[in-house]
Structure formats: structure tokens, C-alpha cells
């Protein structure tokens, strides 16, 4: 079992933070987490985070929506209760398809957008009544917090982090 001690290093500038993350990675330390008040471009790459696959899920959700629309229009307009509307009878789905394009488009977008956002909320664990997990309230204002697990190398890490321009360094016990 690893030690539950972690170091919290605070930074107050995004460019300084980026350099710090690179410096810490260069020394082969594991960065547990970085809390940011706003997105810092390139931070995920510097930390070595895998790219997100949410866009791919959105594509498949969109395909699902499109299929639902095709199934629904076919079942309701062609199979279950075909109607002759304006002298344009419902013999086959394909012949009636042009009239269903708006529905197909809207349901594609509806499914892709909502299911992707729900996936995002579930994966990032954000939903109503969820308690926030940022360790310091300043991380939503103007401070960046880098969390590094300590394995009997507290001194070494503290020196390294202060060199990178951390404005505050705390060693805390993580429950």
C-alpha cells in the first residue's frame, strides 16, 4: 500500500504551471492530478493523459439516433398505419424518405448531443448533489494545484517544486 501522503503545489500562472508539469515529469514523478480554474492548452499532453474518446462515442450515439428515426418513421408511417396524405400514399419507406429527412437529422443531433453530455457527466463524475472534490477553493479562481503522491521523497519533491515556481507547497494526508 502506498503512502496516503500527497504534496499540493500551488501555481498562479498557466505558463509557469506548464513548465512545472514538464519539469516534474522529466524527473519521473507521478502527477496524480492538476486542478485548474480554466483549460490550459497542452496540459493533458504534458501530463501524459490519454486523449478523450468522447467524440467517438458521440458519433455512435448519432448513428443510434439516426437508426431510431428510420425505425420510427418506417414503423409508424409505413407499417403500422399507412396513410394516403395529399395523394402521396405510403407504399415504401424509401419513397417517403425525403419527408423524413428533418426528423432523421434532428434525432441524430438529439441523441449524439445528449448522450455524449450524459457520458461526459458520468465519466467525470459530475451531477446534481455531487460534492466538489477540488482540495482548495482557490483552484476555481486563479490558482492551479498540482497533486503528487509522496513516497518518502518529500524533501526532494519540495525542492523541485519550489524551483519550478510554486507559490505554496503543502504536504497533506489524503484520506
Amino acid at each position: 500500500m502506498e503512502s496516503s501522503k500527497v504534496i499540493h503545489a500551488f501555481y498562479n500562472d498557466d505558463e509557469v504551471l506548464m513548465d512545472a508539469v514538464k519539469a516534474v515529469k522529466a524527473e519521473h514523478h507521478h502527477i496524480e492530478e492538476v486542478f485548474c480554474p480554466f483549460p490550459v492548452h497542452g496540459l493533458d499532453k504534458a501530463m501524459g493523459l490519454a486523449p478523450t474518446k468522447l467524440a467517438i462515442t458521440a458519433f455512435f450515439y448519432g448513428i443510434t439516433g439516426l437508426s431510431v428515426a428510420i425505425w420510427m418513421t418506417n414503423y409508424m408511417m409505413i407499417q403500422d398505419w399507412p396513410q394516403d396524405i395529399g395523394g402521396k400514399p405510403s407504399f415504401s419507406w424509401l419513397e417517403n424518405m425525403p419527408a423524413f429527412v428533418p426528423i432523421m437529422f434532428e434525432l441524430t443531433v438529439f441523441f449524439a448531443a445528449h448522450l455524449m453530455v450524459i457520458t461526459f457527466y458520468m465519466r467525470s463524475r459530475i451531477w446534481p448533489f455531487k460534492n466538489a472534490e477540488n482540495p482548495d477553493p482557490r483552484t476555481t479562481d486563479d490558482h492551479f494545484l498540482m497533486e503528487i503522491p509522496v513516497n518518502n521523497n518529500e524533501e526532494e519533491l519540495t525542492v523541485l517544486l519550489s524551483k519550478t515556481g510554486a507559490v505554496e507547497i503543502n504536504v497533506v494526508d489524503k484520506h
Binding site: 498562479n12 500562472d13 505558463e15 509557469v16 486542478f35 485548474c36 480554474p37 480554466f38 483549460p39 492548452h41 497542452g42 496540459l43 493533458d44 501530463m47 493523459l49 478523450t52 468522447l54 458521440a58 420510427m72 408511417m77 398505419w81 396513410q83 395529399g86 417517403n96 419527408a99 428533418p102 426528423i103 437529422f105 434532428e106 434525432l107 443531433v109 438529439f110 449524439a112 448531443a113 445528449h114 455524449m116 461526459f120 465519466r123 467525470s124 463524475r125 459530475i126 451531477w127 448533489f129 460534492n131 466538489a132 477540488n134 477553493p137 482557490r138 476555481t140 479562481d141 486563479d142 525542492v159 517544486l161 519550489s162 524551483k163 519550478t164 515556481g165 510554486a166 507559490v167 507547497i169
Partner: protein
């Protein structure tokens, strides 16, 4: 340099701001007390809203006969108002989605309020078809469910049903897009809240947003994909609204240019409403450093462009009506119509408000003037209302047979419901302006170094945006490190 931006671009954030200053400025209207003007505006809007609700209850209780409709003019003010409000609801998602895809940094200061406006406007729009049903408690019949006598389903060939799908998709996707963007900003308010109740509310609204690097990575990806989805969605919504008319066989309505022309008109009126609202909001919330002259100018340029498209579309319609040689078309456009009939005043108002006045924006002085922008934006709002009124009421008032001719006169109920929706809209917007972070502060912080006045000036002097590292945390080490 990661935060480079061409020096020729005007700064988007004025003054000597730090990240913390942005937090302070945006939290201030929420944490402070409302002033007297806010209360005056709120109570006027509330009164208008209640009056409108009274008219709605009267309509529903008595019947649609209390409106100025007849068997020939089956919809007039209600559908005019519906199209007007949906059109207004187009700027928000356009600003947040299309401008995101084009990487326009100026959208950051205005997207939050524009999207709020979109959502509130679509609420108002949605009211009209529901009231027009006469029996709104049966409104769920528009959903794809079988009827109570068997399995007769909704008609997917009908543009009215396309509208149901388009508008509910648009409203719900815009709402989710808006709310996802709000999470980090609600979290910011939550983390600085002092009052326990306020903290609880914002903790709930922020969904426990913590701002991990992974969350931000996903947040950016989701924003981008949502923008990609919302862009065709925005265009589809007003396209489908225009098909309510264009797929009919009425002269004056069955026009193939309606979709692009309606979309351009919607963006035109939507941006005008954004100008109206932001012109007031930047003053009352002291956000003049964020919503600057250049933001107003950029929006005015969009207004000139879309207004130009609308003007060309009007001209095309008249030309085609003449060119077809169809007597009905000819009659609708060139004889009664518009210019000489009993509604000539509405037609000329349209030309004045929608075509003539926006041309003033070609002048840079006017385009960059807050007061002129405000006046012109109000004019466009009026003009776009007349556009819809002209399309709907004038066309219906002179059918194919003279026996169907009827002149539409609104009753006090028609007027009351319209005023009521304006009141409802402003009630929502005023409440929003007091309780929500009205600027996407997290996103503005990302452009502070590239587009903030302070950093731009520093860069011109050759000072890098990255601060010099001062080591204070480790004692004894600082002297050595400073020299590096």
C-alpha cells in the same frame, strides 16, 4: 510563444486585469445587491408577464375566438410572435457554436448571455403553438404516441411536426450546451460564497465541478463536438420553421428561398436582440471592460451581412413573383400586397426598419457607437416583427377568392399575450443577470494573455507573458535560484 496574437487586433479585455480580477468582476453582480433600476425594470416586466398570463388564461378558458382570427386567417399574431421569438433565439447558439468553430475569441465575452437569451426566447416561442392548440392540456398529442382510438400516429410528413422535433431538440441541446459551460463558473461562485445558503445553491448548480485536468480535456472536446452538432442544428431550426410556410401552396408562401432567407433573418434579429440586451447589461453590471466597443462592432458587422442577405431575399421574391407571370404570385406581391393594400404601413415599416436603418452601420463611427447600436438594434427588432406579420397576415388576408378576403385586426388579447411574452422574457433575463455568471469567466481567462490589453501592451514592449519565477517556498534555496 503560446499566447501570441497579432498586434493589429484590438484587445478584448480592457484594463490591467489579472485572473483574480476577472473572478471579482464577474462575481460582483451576483454577490452585490440589486440597485433601484433593476427593481423598476423587474416589476414592470413582471406586471407585463402577469397581464400576458391573464390573457392566456382568458384565451384558454373562452376559446381562440377571443383573438382576431377568422376562418380565413387561422393564425396571425400568434405565429408571427412565434417566428419572431424563434428568430431571436438564433443568435445565442450561433455565437457559441459557429464562432467557436471559427475560433473567434470575441465570442467569449458574449456567448453566455446570448445563449441565455436564446433559451428564454425559445421558451416564449414555444408558448404560442401550445396556446394556439386551444386545448393545451392535449399538447402531448404532438409526441410520437398512438392516439386513444387505435394506433394512429403523428404525421411525419408534416412540417408542423418537424417543427416539434426541431425546436425541442434545439431548446434541449442549447440548454445542455449552456449549462455545461456554466459548471466551472458556478463552481467559482460556489468556492467564494460566504453565505451558507448561497454556497449550497451554487454547489448544487455546479454539479460538483472540480476542474481536474481530465475534466477540462473532456470539457473542451464536448464543447467542440456540441458546437459541431449545434451549427447545422441552428440552421435546421429556422429552415424547418420556414417550411411551415414554404411547403404550403399559398402564393407568397411557397417560395424556395424561404429557408436561407429565414435563417439569415433569424441571425439578423437575434444579433439585434443581443445588442439591445448587452447594451444595457454591460452598463448595469459594470462589465464595460469585457463587452467592449470591438465586440459591438463585430456584432454589427454580422448584422450588416445578414441584413444584406435579407434585403436581397426581399428583392428576389418580388422579382420572381413578376418573372413567373403567375397571376396569383403577381397579385400577392405586386398588386395588393404589400405596397398598396390596407397593410401598406406595415410593409413600409418593414422596409424602413429592416433595410434602410441597418445601412447606417456601414459608417464606422455609427458601428462603434453604443447609443447608435442600441437604437438601430431596437429598430431591427421592430422591423423583423413586421417581416413576419407581412408574410403571414397580408398573404392570408387576400386569398384566391374575394369572398375569403378578410382584414385581420388584433384584439386586446392578441396584444396582451405578446406583451406578456416580452415581460416573461425580461423577467427571466433580469433574474439571470442577478444570479448567473453573465460572462464565461473561465473561457475569458484563457484569452486574457493573448487578447487582454495589459498583456498585449507588455508584448509590444517585448516583455514575455510568463512571469519571472520567484522562489519563496523553500528557505535558503531562494538566493541560488534567483540567479538562474
Amino acid at each position: 510563444m503560446s499566447h501570441y496574437e497579432a498586434p493589429i487586433r484590438e484587445p478584448l479585455v480592457l484594463g490591467d486585469k489579472s485572473y483574480h480580477d476577472i473572478t471579482e468582476d464577474i462575481a460582483k453582480p451576483i454577490e452585490g445587491k440589486a440597485n433601484k433600476n433593476w427593481y423598476v425594470a423587474f416589476y414592470i416586466s413582471l406586471a407585463a408577464m402577469l397581464w400576458g398570463f391573464g390573457c392566456i388564461f382568458y384565451t384558454v378558458g373562452t376559446g381562440i375566438g377571443v383573438w382576431g382570427l377568422s376562418k380565413n386567417i387561422g393564425w396571425a399574431w400568434d405565429i408571427t410572435n412565434f417566428v419572431w421569438w424563434v428568430g431571436i433565439g438564433h443568435a445565442g447558439t450561433l455565437i457559441s457554436a459557429v464562432l467557436l468553430l471559427f475560433r473567434q475569441k470575441w465570442r467569449m465575452a458574449i456567448n453566455r448571455s446570448a445563449e441565455a437569451m436564446t433559451i428564454f426566447a425559445v421558451f416564449q416561442a414555444g408558448l404560442f403553438p401550445i396556446i394556439h392548440m386551444g386545448r393545451p392540456w392535449n399538447g402531448y398529442w404532438v409526441l410520437p404516441i398512438p392516439n386513444q382510438f387505435g394506433s394512429l400516429w403523428v404525421n411525419f410528413n408534416s412540417p408542423l411536426l418537424w417543427d416539434v422535433f426541431a425546436i425541442s431538440t434545439y431548446l434541449s441541446v442549447s440548454l445542455v450546451f449552456w449549462w455545461t459551460g456554466l459548471l466551472p463558473d458556478f463552481a467559482m461562485i460556489r468556492d467564494r460564497a460566504v453565505k451558507p445558503f448561497q454556497k449550497k445553491i451554487y454547489a448544487l448548480l455546479s454539479f460538483g465541478w472540480s476542474g481536474r485536468a481530465k475534466d477540462w480535456q473532456r470539457f473542451e472536446e464536448v464543447s467542440l463536438v456540441l458546437a459541431g452538432l449545434a451549427t447545422p442544428l441552428v440552421l435546421s431550426v429556422h429552415t424547418i420553421v420556414s417550411m411551415d410556410f414554404a411547403t404550403s401552396i399559398n402564393p407568397g408562401w411557397h417560395s424556395t428561398i424561404f429557408p436561407p432567407y429565414f435563417v439569415a433573418g433569424a441571425i439578423f434579429s437575434g444579433f439585434a436582440m443581443v445588442q439591445t440586451l448587452l447594451g444595457i447589461m454591460r452598463k448595469v453590471t459594470n462589465l464595460e471592460d469585457y463587452i467592449t466597443r470591438i465586440h459591438i462592432e463585430y456584432m454589427n458587422i454580422v448584422i450588416i451581412l445578414t441584413g444584406g442577405i435579407v434585403a436581397v431575399a426581399y428583392a428576389t421574391e418580388f422579382f420572381i413573383a413578376w418573372y413567373t407571370g403567375s397571376p396569383y404570385e403577381n397579385y400577392t406581391y405586386l398588386s395588393v400586397g404589400a405596397a398598396t393594400g390596407p397593410y401598406a404601413w406595415a410593409f413600409y415599416s418593414l422596409l424602413f426598419f429592416n433595410i434602410l436603418t441597418p445601412q447606417l452601420l456601414w459608417f464606422k463611427k455609427i458601428r462603434r457607437s453604443f447609443i447608435w447600436t442600441f437604437i438601430i438594434s431596437i429598430f431591427i427588432n421592430i422591423g423583423m416583427w413586421f417581416e413576419r406579420f407581412d408574410i403571414i397576415a397580408i398573404v392570408l388576408s387576400k386569398g384566391h377568392l374575394p369572398s375569403t378576403w378578410w382584414r385581420f385586426e388584433p384584439t386586446f388579447v392578441d396584444v396582451g399575450i405578446f406583451i406578456g411574452t416580452i415581460g416573461f422574457f425580461f423577467v427571466l433575463f433580469l433574474l439571470y443577470a442577478r444570479t448567473f455568471p453573465v460572462i464565461a469567466q473561465a473561457e475569458v481567462k484563457t484569452i486574457l494573455k493573448s487578447s487582454g490589453e495589459f498583456y498585449k501592451n507588455r508584448r509590444d514592449q517585448g516583455i514575455p507573458t510568463k512571469p519571472v519565477i520567484k522562489v519563496a517556498a523553500a528557505e535558503g534555496e531562494s538566493d541560488k535560484l534567483d540567479k538562474e
